[in-house]
Symmetry: C2
Subunit: 405 residues, 2 copies
């Protein structure tokens, strides 16, 4: 009898967690495990705001996939997935096709611009390590050019961040620390620089404790960051963004740098796959399978699960993605053995939003915390993600050990 | 009787050398010494190719002027000189005017584009620390953008260096080391990158020993750098440069990065000052004074002196500029005492052209040298410049001590 083939798409938190747990549980002769990923590296998508701000090198936010997988048990293929056919059980990539017996879709998020004109073209996004790297270079290039040019274009020093959710706020926190460094490095007077957060919703960090949110906004404002809340971006142009301030009131803000950090969606391949979805996310069954497709698992940002306590979806976090990967591996092993699958329940250990390298807000172990304590916890969380995927070796190599800054 | 006022324009090698030698020789009550410079820092113009390539941080190539002058003897004014009136003995700046009894013009070089259309607008130059910094950012931005964009524009990875003289070759040497790093950092396949040196003259490094030049070209070619010699650039556009390959033969090379490193001239203020000049350089008297202006000294790149041994001008080097500053201070002191001035004779200690951090060619102590030995000597020369201006303290702070790389 032919060994079953398990194909895992994507080496983000969910995909890698699935693979490392499968290779722990399965012997070499039980199944063929194939991992397909666009790049030869995994990147910490929860750290991209640091690479984008320039407070961390892009190299530090990624590591070789081969350093965490067992080559005798897992075949790694560097390829871009171009299609998923769940009827024929075939995955197509830019370098070949692969059939599967079990499929794990862990393709991560894509940015969502909600059809706002110009954002696709003129705003930058932190969608992946290359995009984050370009944001850093874009900002530095603007500072360098302003410093050199005879007729100063001050809009080079205006940075607009669209979105006051988790990603937006973490990015602003890094910018708050980075801008003074940039001013020093490029001989730019600090008062010339403007960092503005524009948010359509009437609040910052929805879902977070209001007291913590107040702390965060106060801290960011103290670093000179401005907020425009309840004011949607209605258009982006090469010169800046147009913001809706009231019923018939608009304001155009000139800015050479616009970073869009509002809203994510699942991967577009899911929309083309025939699997039922909402904005490319699949409302998965309790054992993480796609409804009606008993051989397809969805983990990570493409999986939609409702938190019944608050009747809202769980946010797309690394923490949940890794737990899902663990459970997905467990359930595939069960299916291989003819045993019943288990129900996935997120074990929420808390949530911490960083405000730069030295500050954060969050809840962990049921306790609210701010400042250095929260920042310490955040780094521990980051290190834990490395540990869960790559053990002590990877943690020591890529971890954050400026713990008490 | 009023104390005489000595005004020194520019804090490059020549100007700073003049000032530090004046402050050594003169007591606080003998003369008012005023140093006027655009920036509050001095930069090592001979290191700018390293900042431009990104092999050295822009911060490392500059230091505070105040760290090397004695505030009790020298008044430093941060201002941009806008005019020199040798009849009225007045210097105007963007923040005020200054009269002088003795004037030292040490305003350094400007780039010379020989009227080639488009170069002014579309080529980058290493004219100062801000311009060098922008070249670095420009190159990195192109690499980051290429890596991210869907439709790859390979001309982002083509770098054209105009000029195979000292500056062009030293810059190419740094690029040869930097490009592999950039490829790694930005996930760019090395074979996609093209670095091309275009030179109008029929030779590389005119004035250098042919055997050394052969070595340099061989080493740079081994790093993948191409040469197009005897082929003038006739136009630059936003897309690249047009090169004249033969009588009626032209080739357009697409390149997003064009760095112009061919040809320097003196400062344009000299042309407007009424002092006789050639391309803003003044053929100075043997004691470094401007002909017909007994109270005006010219040192550094704006001073033109003929080396009678070869019947060609001495090249504008830091070594000669510093020696001129020393002699200029000596001659001003002589005039203040009513003594005769001395004749300036360059003491040529050799010339070393770096080919990156680990290689060089040159002549020192009458000996030809290449490779690590020449590279070591080059760093010693750089450190000596720091020592002559700022003593041991500055050398230790800003010197190059990776001497045996």
């Amino acid at each position: 009898m032919k060994r079953p083939t398990i194909v895992v798409l994507g080496a983000g938190y969910g995909g890698l967690s699935t693979v490392v747990n499968l290779q722990k549980s399965l012997g070499t002769d039980v199944a063929d495990i194939v991992l397909i990923n666009k790049n030869e590296y995994h990147y910490e998508s929860t750290w991209l705001h640091e690479a984008a701000a320039g407070t961390m090198s892009p190299e530090s936010v990624r590591y070789d996939i081969k350093s965490v997988i067992n080559g005798e048990k897992v075949k790694f293929i560097q390829a871009e997935v171009t299609g998923i056919d769940v009827k024929e059980k075939v995955v197509t990539t830019d370098v070949g096709t692969h059939t599967y017996d079990y499929l794990v879709i862990s393709l991560g998020f894509e940015g969502e611009t909600f059809g706002i004109p110009g954002l696709d073209k003129y705003a930058l996004s932190m969608a992946n390590v290359k995009a984050a790297r370009q944001i850093r270079e874009h900002i530095e290039y603007q500072f360098a050019t302003w410093s050199l040019e005879e007729e100063k274009d001050d809009s080079r020093l205006t940075l607009i961040v669209g979105g006051a959710g988790f990603t937006g706020i973490e990015f602003l926190g890094e910018l708050g620390n980075r801008v003074p460094e940039l001013c020093k490095e490029y001989d730019v007077p600090a008062e010339k620089v403007r960092v503005l957060c524009v948010e359509a919703a009437p609040m910052v960090l929805p879902g977070f404790d209001p007291e913590l949110v107040d702390y965060a906004v106060r801290q960011l404002k103290a670093k000179g960051i401005e907020f425009s809340i309840g004011t949607p971006v209605v258009e982006a142009t090469p010169e800046g963004v147009n913001i809706k301030k009231g019923e018939d009131e608009f304001e155009f803000i000139k800015a050479r740098t616009v970073v869009w950090a509002a809203g994510v969606r699942g991967n577009r391949l899911i929309e083309e796959s025939g699997i039922e979805n909402m904005r490319a996310r699949v409302k998965v069954d309790k054992d993480l399978r796609a409804p009606g497709h008993s051989d397809v698992f969805i983990v990570g940002d493409c999986a939609l699960m409702i938190n019944e306590e608050v009747n809202r979806p769980y946010p797309p976090t690394a923490q949940i993605a890794m737990q899902q990967g663990d459970m997905c591996a467990n359930n595939i092993v069960a299916l291989l053995k003819g045993e019943p699958t288990s129900v996935f329940t997120p074990d929420l250990k808390g949530s911490i939003c960083s405000l730069g390298d030295d500050d954060a807000i969050g809840v962990a172990f049921g306790k609210k915390m701010t400042g250095k304590k929260a920042s310490f916890m955040k780094k521990m969380v980051d290190n834990r993600a490395l540990f869960l995927i790559g053990g002590v070796g990877l943690t020591l190599k890529k971890g954050k050990f400026n713990l008490l800054k």
